[in-house]
Symmetry: D2
Subunit: 136 residues, 4 copies
Amino acid sequence: MSRFGVSIETDLLDQFDALIQRKGYRSRSEAFRDLMREQLVREEWEDGDKTAVGILGLVYSHDTRELTKKLNRIQHRFFRNIISTTHIHLDHHNCLEVIVMKGKSADITHIADILISTRSVKDGKLLKTTTGAEIG
Amino acid sequence: MSRFGVSIETDLLDQFDALIQRKGYRSRSEAFRDLMREQLVREEWEDGDKTAVGILGLVYSHDTRELTKKLNRIQHRFFRNIISTTHIHLDHHNCLEVIVMKGKSADITHIADILISTRSVKDGKLLKTTTGAEIG
Amino acid sequence: MSRFGVSIETDLLDQFDALIQRKGYRSRSEAFRDLMREQLVREEWEDGDKTAVGILGLVYSHDTRELTKKLNRIQHRFFRNIISTTHIHLDHHNCLEVIVMKGKSADITHIADILISTRSVKDGKLLKTTTGAEIG
Amino acid sequence: MSRFGVSIETDLLDQFDALIQRKGYRSRSEAFRDLMREQLVREEWEDGDKTAVGILGLVYSHDTRELTKKLNRIQHRFFRNIISTTHIHLDHHNCLEVIVMKGKSADITHIADILISTRSVKDGKLLKTTTGAEIG
């Protein structure tokens, strides 16, 4: 553990303290650690060549003509980057697919863009995370 | 813990000891516990009205006309019993779907039968397990 | 289909066109549809009482004392909101957990906050999506 | 398609017809295809060196001291063979883990044996399936 001082404007600190209390943090140090790690993960993604992990969430209706098939075909093209897909049958019509990917961050973004921009996908979002290997 | 004696033919015991050693059991008691629990789970399944948990594995090619869509449609009909489906893109053609179900064992068996007997499914098998709630 | 005109500053439109082309959209209309749906999903989340779907990604090392157990305990407390968790063993040390939740958006946010703020979690992010039921 | 005749004892055929009707098969041919593929998958598993796919289901209580951690540690040792693990929080106490593995069938069996024989696992079963690559 390294200990050191930081100086922050009181107003900003008050807002921050209120926020991290609401979020359940036990101490400012733990909250700062998370912000620092978040920054490190962001850097990994900026560099398109680093190995990253992404989670893509897609919501769509399987009633839409050919959509299920189209999304599955696209995923198979990139099967080397897709670790596994969890499919939740939300109701009689709506599907949630949670696609876990590993690979160069540029490739993950590319695959996500193709799937999200497929016509009739109701919601598509990419969560950018990390292999953890280079984060302390 | 209850302790008690059992008498077993030496031949049978020798075979059993060799088997459980290969399987990595530390003691006969642990192996017996597993056999007893296995029997209890089997009983839960015999009684079609008890709540059970089943895992269905399906392997198929997404190149087969309409198959992906058909399997997804069937699953949506039973979305109340299907907790989640994991889809692994095994290669450019082959898919593995792992379907986790919870409900009356008779219903799970029924859903599994429909999916397994769908034309062109390469392999379909149901693993019968338990909610654990009634197993010590 | 409704058709109507919109007027946009040329500069903004040029930037937008370049962006959606990079992302693989076939037409401006499809890109606008996605933006509109995105806004609708965001509204669902603002209203803490609506049923929403969230995907939480957590990266951590299972070498960290008690962490695996702690995260599992917390999840069990909220088992009614957690549909399923996918665990990827990234390497000898690092774990990725992808936790799919359904329920009031306020509850999902609360559960995510608790898990993300748990000490030694390397990266934690919540992806906010939808049941799709109210999105056209 | 090849067509050919088979001769079967009437009694056996009657029983078989009743069974496959209950299971929802449309024709005897489809039922025979499934039996043949099942035999092929079984052969793949006999030969310990072929690449196979296995699905392991484990039910246990996360209240059992150290068990969650122990099972996670074992899985990380074999992370190269484990594609993904789905964890279902069945209730406040009971967990279902569905572990999807790919690799030499002998290795999959070995990993399954270690996990199933771990003390206090309530139910553990291995479903043996296939990559589909060599099954028509």
